[in-house]
């Protein structure tokens, strides 16, 4: 299943090497930097969880099992926050 950003739910902006998001309903801020930003940038509506993890493991030259577990946990956080679906 592909992962999709819920673009109606938030506004985002890039400051330095971070992306700051604001939930337009609650006014809550979120920030993404480093690897979390790398995951965020790969969420484009065409990739699934496994493809995102594989791409990051290659980019960071890191064990795919570890990256896959981290990505799964992070995507769960993003879903919980209402920022992504899928």
């Amino acid at each position: 299943m592909t992962i999709t950003k819920d673009g109606a739910r938030f506004v985002e902006t890039e400051i330095d090497d971070e992306v700051v998001l604001m939930d337009v309903e609650s006014g809550t801020f979120f920030s993404l930097a480093g690897t979390s930003l790398a995951v965020w940038r790969l969420i484009d509506g065409s990739r699934g969880e496994g493809e995102i993890a594989a791409a990051l493991a290659a980019d960071y030259d890191a064990p795919v099992e570890q990256v896959a577990a981290d990505v799964a946990a992070f995507l769960a956080e993003l879903r919980e926050a209402g920022l992504v679906t899928g």
Binding site: V11, L32, S36
Partner: protein, 321 residues
């Protein structure tokens, strides 16, 4: 959804000279009658209201201020009105509201001029903003403004800072620490005196070069901040953030876009120092050296390597409150 454009009342194309003229024209004061309500909202003693192009403030039973865009400020004085209080309100909340209604961002900060830019220090009341700029004055940095920094944020790039409209005010302890020449007393209730800025004062607009947040800590340090911290700290100044949001009538998304643009455009640092008179000079010297060494031109550090991703939550947008 991405950054929306700013939907302000002003196109943001005025020159710094035009901005100065607008502030001067709009801050003219006359005595007269002040309405009891604006936009259908009655304003009683110790209340204020900002709606559209108008601001109404009644700080007590004896004084009232009304600002209307294009008409300037009207002051109504009842029996027992305090001239010192009038001056403080006029240069404080009334001026800030007038500036915000005209599209400027009033910020709670004191600043010095250096290398063609204004360098501003911000923090809550009592954080030491005025004392620091007075001490920097003694080290060759002219005062740019005290207590309120008015920014023209309409253009691209660094906001243009308007020269200060307030005189420097210091406590007796700050006068002693900085060596600034004492002038007349501000008013018995303030415990402050007007003071001659030791390095003189700057009279023309300058681009804002840096915003430095004052904090207390065991050691003297200057730390550059980046990313979300720039964004969230910029909104620490709750009073001016709220008055600006009310004046601009921004949606939360528009307010977000405006603050984000400012966060990107203004280099920011945190200056930490002990509030210990014996170490006061050490902190001032550190700031003076950093300014002379060009601290405003450093870039943020980059990170690398795989670490578990985290979703940082950073509180709540002021515009939503």
């Amino acid at each position: 959804m991405t950054d929306g454009g700013e939907t302000g009342k002003r196109p943001g194309t005025m020159s710094p000279e035009q901005a100065v003229l607008i502030l001067k024209r709009e801050s003219r004061v006359r005595s007269g009658t002040v309405p009891h309500a604006i936009a259908g909202v009655a304003v009683g003693p110790r209340q204020s209201w900002l709606a559209g192009d108008e601001f109404l403030l009644r700080p007590d039973e004896c004084l009232a201020f009304h600002y209307a865009r294009g008409q300037g400020i009207t002051v109504a004085r009842g029996d027992g009105a305090d001239a010192i209080a009038e001056n403080l309100w006029l240069n404080g909340s009334v001026y800030a509201a007038m500036a915000a209604i005209n599209g400027f961002l009033p910020f709670h900060a004191s600043a010095v001029a250096w290398d063609g830019r204004a360098v501003a220090f911000t923090g809550p009341g009592g954080a030491g903003k005025s004392t620091l700029i007075a001490a920097l004055g003694a080290r060759g940095f002219p005062m740019f403004c005290d207590d309120t920094l008015v920014l023209d944020i309409g253009g691209e790039g660094a906001p243009m800072a308007m020269p200060g409209h307030k005189r420097l005010k210091l406590t007796p302890a700050a006068l002693a620490l900085t060596g600034a020449a004492r002038q007349e007393e501000v008013g018995a209730q303030t415990g402050k005196f007007y003071a001659e800025p030791p390095g003189g004062d700057w009279q023309v607009p300058l681009p804002l070069g840096a915003l430095i947040f004052l904090e207390e800590g065991p050691d003297v340090s200057l730390r550059r901040i980046s990313g979300h911290e720039r964004f969230t700290r910029l909104q620490d100044d709750h009073y001016t953030a709220n008055i600006f949001a009310r004046a601009r009538n921004h949606t939360p998304a528009e307010a977000f876009a405006t603050w984000a643009r400012l966060a990107r455009a203004i280099p920011m640092l945190v200056f930490t120092r002990p509030r210990d008179e014996a170490r006061f000079g050490e902190g001032v010297d550190a700031v003076a050296k950093a300014l002379r060494d060009g601290l405003m031109n450093e870039g943020p550090a980059a990170a690398s390597g795989w670490t578990s991703p985290v979703l940082g939550a950073n509180g709540t947008d002021r515009a939503k409150e």
